[in-house]
């Protein structure tokens, strides 16, 4: 694959495994074994079966008629919101729990921001009867209390991350610290296409089911497996890389990644990483991240906790640098309005994360007959409070 990873874990200038020696044996074991495990027939059979019977895949590709009318193109929603647990995060969690099981791990750790990945991880741990510890920023625990309760109901221990800015990046630090202290029995299920190699590659592979299905569904519905445009929101970039993956080598397909601009890119309250970031190293990977001149990581802001991450996955940094995908942003208000529009035109309440991707439609000009696929990465139940407060229902 032209945009794929090299043998050292790099996508062009980005990627690698910038980890302390304490994590080297874990990362090395993963690197040496994950492909073997993923290509194993027994693994594939169980992965496919769980995605089908437990997650509910394939997720529909829905031709949104009223959206299509409004925007003058054929708009399709890839319905990851209909997955069990309500977002694309479960695809990766299922893949990694099966891997952890085959590596003989007994204890699972994860980080979470909004709680979606934490819930997905707690879910698969319940499914497999494995111990689950989820790190979550103290501030996020307060913002996303229902998801905290959900994880606990599912049997997980939720540990507040009280260091640094007490949000997603600090939860990730705490998970890495836990792993350093428990290298032998524990597997770290990272929640996005970030982290040291092989994580970005592995997560992308698990999420690539999204575009694998979409291609087939497009062929059935439009007569061609290639659309003109593919859109997805980007936090760390897992739903976006999954949505792009099988289109990367089809250069005619325009790939658009939508970051969270928060209150506006230039307001100092934003998570628009490619606009505001510089190259550096975050959570074990060389990528683009928001930082001060002195190389201190800057705490981003977005109304959507799932997009509130100061970096992007290394493959996205590469796709950005070589211009294979376009990186744009939507503000809080644009996303909230787009979310409401989806309710009113299609009867779908999207996650505020996914609503960022929808918001970009407003800024695009289509030719009649253009086919456009948007990844609806999650459902908006978790965001009802925010929507309700904002619109005053």
């Amino acid at each position: 694959m032209k945009y794929g990873v090299d043998e050292h874990g790099y996508y062009g200038d980005f990627g690698g495994a910038y980890i302390p020696e304490m994590l080297y044996p874990n990362i090395e074991a993963l690197r040496a074994q994950y492909l073997k495990v993923l290509n194993d027939d027994d693994f594939k059979a169980e992965f496919d079966q769980l995605l089908k019977d437990y997650v509910g895949r394939p997720s529909p590709l829905y031709h949104a008629k009223r959206y299509s009318e409004k925007y003058g193109a054929n708009i399709f929603f890839k319905r990851e919101d209909l997955n069990h647990t309500g977002s694309h995060k479960i695809n990766n969690a299922i893949g990694q729990i099966l891997l952890a099981e085959r590596l003989g791990k007994k204890r699972i750790i994860a980080e979470t921001g909004a709680g979606q990945h934490g819930v997905a991880t707690a879910t698969v741990c319940a499914l497999k009867g494995l111990e689950c510890v989820v790190y979550m920023g103290e501030i996020d625990m307060a913002r996303q209390a229902p998801n905290v309760a959900r994880m606990k109901m599912l049997g997980a221990t939720v540990v507040p991350a009280t260091s640094g800015s007490k949000t997603l990046k600090d939860a990730t630090n705490e998970a890495l610290r836990d792993w350093i202290g428990n290298p032998e029995d524990t597997h770290y299920i990272i929640g996005s296409a970030v982290g040291p190699y092989p994580y970005p590659e592995m997560v992308a592979k698990f999420q690539s089911i999204i575009s694998f299905e979409a291609k087939k569904q497009l062929l059935e519905q439009t007569g061609s497996e290639l659309p003109q445009y593919v859109l997805a929101c980007v936090g760390g970039g897992s739903n976006a890389i999954g949505m792009f993956y099988n289109f990367l080598d089809d250069e005619s397909v325009k790939l658009i990644a939508v970051e969270a601009a928060g209150k506006g890119v230039e307001t100092g309250h934003s998570a628009a990483t490619t606009s505001l970031g510089k190259e550096g190293v975050l959570h074990g990977t060389r990528t683009i991240l928001m930082q001060t001149e002195d190389g201190q990581v800057v705490e981003p802001y977005s109304i959507s906790a799932g997009l509130d991450y100061p970096g992007i996955g290394p493959q996205h940094a590469h796709l950005f640098k070589v211009n294979r995908a376009e990186y744009v942003s939507a503000t809080d208000d644009e996303a909230l309005n787009a979310g409401l529009l989806a309710c009113q035109l299609e009867g779908i309440i999207p996650a505020i994360e996914s609503a960022h991707a929808l918001a970009h439609l407003e800024k695009m000009a289509f030719k009649p007959g253009d086919n456009v696929v948007i990844c609806l990465s999650g459902r908006g139940d978790k965001d009802l409070d925010t929507y309700i407060k904002h619109f005053g229902y």
Binding site: P20, L176, Q291
Partner: protein
């Protein structure tokens, strides 16, 4: 030879190194602390430059880093302070910190500046071997800086040999796979690990760190290695009143004057 290599050529046992975070507890006491440590008998120093996301550090060093950043410590400020390093301090000095601030500062500029102010080596826990060899080794060598690698109980023999080949001053042995500041249980498995390393007869001296906080753990470490490093315990000391004045007592408690 840099000062570090000199030290190891002349002193083979009971070495004591102290880590502290620059800019903690006060912005401008970096050299005062360094000087006091030398006078109290420390053999070499590790001066940490703070980072917002120190994944290999426990709460003590995390908090010192946060405070140092709040106080305004940056690499620019640190190098400014270190201009006078060699007027006041003779023992070897290492800089310790994470890779991202170095990337932003610029690796060449960082190494040049470090050499210019009289730094002898660098410890960057999140700089892996592959990246070091490919991108950094030449610059380190040109500036006569030693790069210090970590080895844990889980590091394979093959990898330890490779690290030994890449090292030119000492190897940093972690007492266990842990973040900084965890308490050390001297168990039989740790002793087996120390013995295993000792039995490998490496070319480089070894210094044990992480969890060394008192005379007992220091003495045990010195049985198997050329010395030990105290970090979190000293950073805790810095939180107390009269931390400068009491540095001799702190050192004496770890390694009593003979």
């Amino acid at each position: 030879m840099n000062r570090l290599q000199n030290l190891f050529a002349n002193k083979k046992s009971n070495l004591l190194s102290i880590y502290f975070t620059a800019g903690y507890p006060e912005l401008n006491t970096t050299l005062d602390i360094a000087e006091a440590l030398e006078q109290a008998g420390a053999d070499f120093l590790e001066i940490g430059f703070p980072y917002s996301d120190p994944v290999a550090d426990g709460p003590t060093i995390q908090q010192s880093s946060e405070k140092a950043l709040e106080n305004g410590m940056t690499l620019n400020v640190l190098f400014e302070q270190l201009q006078q390093l060699r007027e006041r301090v003779n023992i070897p000095v290492l800089l310790m910190g994470y890779i991202n601030p170095i990337v932003q500062y610029g690796i060449e500029r960082f190494c040049k500046k470090a050499a210019e102010v009289g730094v002898d080596g660098v410890i960057v826990p999140d700089l892996p071997i592959y990246e070091y060899e490919k991108l950094y080794a030449d610059t380190f060598k040109q500036n006569n800086l030693s790069n210090i690698f970590l080895v844990t109980p889980n590091t394979s023999e093959e990898r330890i040999r490779k690290i030994d080949g890449l090292s030119n001053s000492f190897i940093y042995l972690l007492s266990s796979s842990s973040i900084t500041g965890s308490t050390l249980n001297v168990s039989t498995s740790i002793e087996d690990y120390y013995k295993r390393i000792k039995g490998m007869e490496l070319n480089n001296p070894t210094i044990i760190g992480f969890g060394i906080s008192n005379n007992a753990s220091y003495t045990k470490a010195c049985e198997y290695a050329n010395g030990a490093i105290v970090g979190s315990a000293f950073v805790k000391h810095l939180a107390m009143d009269d931390y400068l004045k009491n540095i001799p007592e702190f050192i004496n408690n770890i390694r009593p004057r003979s």
